[in-house]
């Protein structure tokens, strides 16, 4: 599925589609199971951002949208001028989950926005502030260091060694520790998830 339709789905949840785009999404939605799944996924992501939970009895978002499409024949009229009426109705189904859907879309689909030749990405800058007064500077980690996806923040801490060394050491301690926690299956995924994610703040 192209990133274009994904962006449109995100915009759909964000209530930012033009009428023509809305029709495109609607057609794809009716014909393509993948689009329905993506819509489900985006809506769930949006809900998770807000800390909301699905109701046990709730239908899937795709089912709700399908039902709404059936109930709202005016949307199908191609000559109907753009109004906000049909859009407002979507909001009731997403119950506030639309907020920050753009963030969700970025979170899911921005892999392609970074190229291998991007010098900033290849440098893996990591910042760590060991004390409030210390200078924060980007550093290059060696190859055996963990992916520089992690950023430790400190509070009233101090050190006699450089901050990037502390950062590296804490990451390695975390990796060592995660070998044990992953067996339980409950919090086990957390350390690895923490390690593998990309630090957008870097």
């Amino acid at each position: 599925m192209s990133s274009d339709i994904n962006e449109k789905i995100s915009a759909f949840i964000d209530d930012e589609l033009e009428q023509s785009e809305f029709e495109t999404v609607r057609k794809r939605f009716e014909q393509d199971k993948t689009v329905q799944l993506t819509l489900n996924r985006y809506a769930l992501i949006s809900e998770s951002i807000k800390g909301n939970h699905c109701s046990h009895n709730a239908q899937s978002v795709a089912e709700l949208v399908s039902q709404q499409l059936k109930d709202e024949p005016t949307v199908l009229a191609p000559t109907k001028p753009k109004t906000h009426n049909h859009k407002e109705s979507w909001k009731t189904y997403f119950a506030g989950a639309a907020v920050a859907a753009t963030v969700a879309a970025v979170a899911v689909f921005n892999v392609g926005s970074f190229s291998a030749g991007d010098a900033q990405i290849e440098q893996f800058p990591v910042t760590v502030s060991v004390s409030p007064s210390s200078n924060v500077r980007p550093v290059m980690l060696d190859n055996m260091a963990l992916p520089a996806s992690t950023k430790w923040t400190t509070q009233n801490a101090s050190s006699s060694v450089h901050s990037d060394e502390i950062e590296k050491e804490l990451n390695q301690f975390l990796m060592e520790h995660s070998e044990y926690t992953t067996q339980s299956g409950i919090p086990g995924m957390l350390p690895y998830a923490t390690i593998v994610v990309y630090d957008k703040q870097k």
Binding site: N40, R41, L44, I45, S48, I49, G51, H53, C54, H56, A104, V108, F109, N110, V111, D118, I121, F124, N143, P147, S149, K151, W152, T153, T154, N156, S158, S159, S160, V161, I166, E169, L170, Q172, F173, L174, M175, E176, H177, E179, Y180, T181, S184, G185, I186, P187, G188, M189, L190, P191, Y192, A193, T194, I195, V196, V197, Y198, D199, K200, Q201
Partner: protein, 321 residues
């Protein structure tokens, strides 16, 4: 007159609690098996602090051996692959691969953190609190409410069919959500096959291939933890010293000891090194993970784990030689 009804109610209450405990035990046992024995391929979001990340995990079991891949779907492409022998970190944009031999003996550690309800219930109130729906699948909600402020609370959404945890949430002492992992789409079953690595997909040759082999110590292979020079008196309620390692593989030339504590769910490690330099002194945070360092009598003590900072501070100051 009231004696019989009171006795009857007491028996009923005990039976109800026992039944609840049995149910919790059943689901936790089923979850442990599901996590390690099933094939699944899912997308999940990981919330920590103000950040949200999107990842994909593919877990397969081939000839009884697990292979687990974890991909980052946003930001720079990254992948961690775990199999029975190694942990591999792949960074396609950096054209690098780092492979480390797994630090533990698989057979020995497969039961390292067995979830025993009787033990967990000493530190958490466990409740099956209804049903929900995650990733378009029906789930059973299990809540672990901590009995003190030394650990975080958890809420799990277990798949009703397979008992896989489809959502995992961690709450601080005030009940505020501090971290969450939630699947948004998942396939479960034998039709799920190993996905291959990001490198294969991207067709990008690895120009820098770094391999680091770490061999567990003889003592570790013999499953006999060495004697420790350090001891921890009055360990916080419910936490137990689970394991001690005299050195850690990432720093073979430095004598850093590792002590691993757990209460059955939460865990943390304490690292101790003799040094003339104070390294971390104070608290550090990474998402829902905390660290605390203190310099004592020519030794750097650093604690890392998914427990409140106060717990790390407390345990770090207990270390005595």
């Amino acid at each position: 007159m009231l004696r019989f009804p009171v006795f009857f109610l007491s028996v009923l209450l005990v039976n109800t609690v026992f039944a609840g405990s049995q149910q919790s035990s059943y689901w936790l046992d089923k979850m442990m098996k599901a996590v390690h024995q099933l094939n699944y391929d899912g997308h999940f979001v990981y919330l920590h602090g103000d950040n949200i990340e999107s990842l994909r995990t593919v877990h397969t079991v081939i000839d009884g051996h697990e292979i687990e891949r974890l991909f980052s779907l946003n930001g720079e492409a990254r992948e961690i692959v775990r199999d029975k022998d190694t942990v591999t970190r792949i960074m396609p944009n950096d054209k690098s691969v780092a492979t480390t031999k797994r630090l533990m003996d698989t057979e020995y550690f497969s039961g390292f953190f067995v979830l025993q309800v009787e033990e967990i219930e000493k530190n958490y109130e466990i409740n099956l609190s209804g049903r929900d729906r995650i990733a378009d699948r029906a789930t059973l909600v299990m809540v672990f409410k901590p009995r003190d402020d030394l650990r975080y609370g958890y809420r799990l959404n277990l798949d009703e069919e397979y008992a896989l945890p489809l959502q995992w949430e961690m709450f601080d002492q005030q009940g505020s959500l501090i971290s969450s992992i939630m699947f948004t789409q998942i396939s479960i079953g034998d039709e799920v096959a190993d996905s291959g690595s990001l490198l294969e997909k991207d067709n990008s040759p690895v120009t820098k291939h770094v391999t680091k082999q770490v061999t567990p110590s003889t003592q570790e292979l013999n499953n006999s933890p060495p004697k420790s020079a350090w001891h921890f008196d009055n360990i916080p309620n419910g936490f137990k010293l689970k394991h001690h390692r005299p050195t850690i593989p990432h720093h073979p030339k430095r004598d850093i000891e590792q002590y691993i504590f757990s209460d059955g769910i939460a865990s943390f490690s304490v690292y101790i090194e003799q040094t003339d330099k104070s390294r971390l002194s104070g608290q550090a945070h990474l998402g829902a993970l905390n660290a605390y360092g203190v310099f004592v009598d020519g030794h750097q003590i650093t604690a890392v784990g998914e427990v409140p900072s106060e717990t790390l501070v407390f345990i770090s100051n207990l270390a005595k030689k």
